[in-house]
């Protein structure tokens, strides 16, 4: 008797649990997407609609806000600055970071522990704060208010990630592949370019994009270090009090777009990258 009831109840509770599970997954997806959707509505609506009440829940597909954004004095320059700074950060952090990642994954050398500590230490520091003294230093060297100066600071932010991510990528390439290349007539350099590089390139791209987004999103140092050559984030921050709503939303949307592309581009590497970087 009791067995029979247990049998009857079990599939039922399991089905309930399953619905609950699916419902929570859907809810959590909505939790992420709906706010972005709201921003999309605001971006694709005319300035009048954006400032009106109540809000529609469907976009009008009016490019008024975006046109206003594009026409706003200094906005396009700021956008251009953001791209330039982020591109510089991307190139510098990979060029400087990847060799160190390679050294960490391939060599045992005295001082390795200390070096790893230095890298991890940077991750434990509120780095944007360093923009304050750097502002003084940059004025002395003529780097103040330049894209390159800001890119240097953003590279400092991105380098620990570049080192750790490339470290984990290189660790994923068996040492034996390189050794095989050496025994087949390669030097260290040609073994790297002929064997390691082709295998690592997609991963390097992913970490380069990661560096790009770190710079693209950074607000504090950008606001501290640029005055005339504002990046998009700095420009929006500076004008938060004074700019109209539709300008904020259009600007916010432009900020979000690379993020969507970024996560899509690197989704395969995201977890592998962090898995080893934890150690």
């Amino acid at each position: 008797m009791s067995d029979a009831t247990a049998d009857a109840v079990a599939p039922d509770t399991r089905a309930t649990g399953r619905y609950l599970y699916i419902a929570s997954v859907v809810f959590l997806c909505a939790w992420v997407i709906v706010p972005i959707y709201f921003l999309l509505i605001n971006t694709l609506s005319s300035p009048e609609t954006v400032n009106s009440f109540p809000k529609p829940f469907w976009p009008e597909f009016d490019l008024g806000s975006l046109t206003f954004f594009a026409g706003f004095a200094g906005m396009l320059t700021a956008l251009k600055n953001s791209v330039i700074v982020a591109a510089m950060t991307m190139v510098m952090s990979i060029l400087i970071g990847a060799p160190a990642g390679y050294a960490l994954s391939r060599f045992e050398f005295p001082g390795k522990g200390l070096f790893r500590l230095l890298i991890l230490l940077t991750r434990a520091f509120p780095l944007p704060l360093l923009a304050l003294p750097l502002a003084v230093m940059f004025i002395q060297t003529g780097l103040d208010d330049t894209a390159f100066g800001l890119a240097l600071v953003h590279t400092t932010l991105a380098i620990p990630f570049a080192v750790l991510i490339t470290f984990s990528l290189f660790s994923g390439i068996p040492m034996e592949l390189e050794e095989a290349a050496w025994t087949l007539g390669c030097t260290r350099l040609t073994a790297f370019t002929k064997v390691v590089l082709p295998l690592i390139l997609p991963g390097i791209t992913a970490s380069a994009i990661f560096a790009f987004v770190i710079s693209w999103n950074e607000v504090f140092a950008a606001a501290v270090l640029t005055i005339e050559n504002r990046t998009l984030t700095a420009f929006l921050l500076q004008n938060l009090d004074t700019s109209p709503l539709h300008l904020k939303f259009a600007g916010g949307f432009i900020l979000v777009v690379p993020a969507l592309i970024f996560i899509f581009a690197v989704r395969k590497y995201l977890f592998a990258m962090w898995g080893i970087a934890n150690r």
Binding site: E176, L177, T183, L184, C186, T187
Partner: protein, 346 residues
């Protein structure tokens, strides 16, 4: 002509001494197997010859040319790795031709040599594939073909068969032996599998704790182990040991038996292979503990004088645990070891 000479090679990793003063000469076209348990230094020695590791001290010559300060590409060697190291971003063809391309050989020469070695390893039909589409055995073949295509003076192999399943391993063993004999290359082969070593080698170097304990032909290593370690390592099951006390001159007291032995004094160890024991009316009193019928023969684990003792007997023989057997050693197969030096005593 590629004789390999290794003189006084030692290697330490920090405080850990991986190799102690290795001296070894490998003749031209010889198939030398480095055999030992993991951590004995056999791979380190191979990698020093390949140039992947630098010896702390010592010198290496290949074909009369000193090579220990050259980089791997200039040593006239090629190597087969344990995990094959088939480049995943290249086709099988480009993998086999990789070294030839590095030498900037003309295209038709590369094609000719790749096709020849691929034929040798029976992988002609795989040339357009990538390593992800190959089975373990096929990858193995690509790795060997890639090494052979270089037509090296010396081919080095680091446990090349250990990742294959048992049946495939046996098949590849025979094939590899044939191909290498035909190519007339000097070969150094690292393995921990004694059956592999016995079946392939011209000569085996048994290594233990960073030293070469014995370097001799397989049958010599098996019949006349130069040290207790070799006797206990080679053979499955390994040799039996019993303590021996001197009786009169040339006679030794072993587990209640008097056995002819060397004329030394003090104490010795008596040793006999399990298959060199015969059932007799008189002999060691062995209490059978575990009986393992292995098909071809019967493995009986017994206790003699409180010591573990194994005998390999005819598979028709019937015995139960607890029974007492009388085992007598074949006199010409008895070996003696000095417990102080652990070396063989003639």
């Amino acid at each position: 002509m590629a004789q390999i000479e290794i003189k006084n090679v030692a290697k330490s990793f920090g405080a850990y001494q991986a190799l102690h003063d290795i001296n070894l000469t490998i003749e031209d076209q010889e198939f030398m197997v480095l055999l030992g348990a993991s951590g004995c230094g056999k791979s380190t020695l191979l990698r020093i010859i390949a140039g992947l590791e630098t010896a702390t001290t010592g010198k290496v010559w290949i074909g009369g040319r000193r090579i220990d300060n050259l980089s791997p590409k200039d040593r006239g060697i090629s190597m087969v790795f344990q995990n094959y190291a088939v480049f995943p971003h290249l086709t099988v063809f480009e993998n086999i031709g990789f070294g030839l391309r590095m030498q900037k050989l003309p295209n038709d020469e590369v094609t000719r040599r790749v096709e020849r070695t691929a034929g040798l390893m029976h992988i002609e039909q795989l040339l357009k594939r990538y390593s992800g589409e190959l089975s373990g055995g096929q990858r193995q073949r690509v790795a060997v073909a890639r090494a052979l295509a270089m037509e090296p003076d010396v081919i080095l192999m680091d446990e090349p068969l250990s990742n294959l399943d048992a049946l495939l391993r046996m098949e590849m063993r025979a094939e590899l032996k044939g191909v290498l004999a035909e190519s007339k290359t000097t070969a150094i082969y690292v393995t921990h599998d004694q059956v592999e070593a016995m079946s392939m080698a011209d000569r085996i170097s048994v290594m233990h704790e960073g030293k070469i304990v014995q370097a001799a032909s397989p049958i010599e290593v098996y019949r006349n182990p130069s040290a207790e370690f070799v006797a206990g390592f080679i053979g499955n099951p390994p040799m039996n040991f019993l303590p021996a006390n001197p009786a009169e001159s040339g006679k030794w007291q072993v587990a209640g038996q008097v056995i002819d032995g060397p004329g030394a004094s003090a104490q010795l160890k008596f040793a006999i292979r399990p298959e060199d024991l015969r059932l007799a009316d008189d002999g060691f009193k062995a209490v059978a503990k575990v009986i393992e019928p292995l098909g071809a023969h019967l493995l009986v684990t017994c206790e003699v004088d409180g010591q573990l003792f194994r005998a390999v007997l005819d598979s028709d023989f019937k015995v139960k645990p607890g029974e007492v057997l009388n085992l007598t050693p074949q006199p010409d197969r008895v070996r003696w070891f000095d417990p102080q030096t652990t070396l063989a005593v003639a």
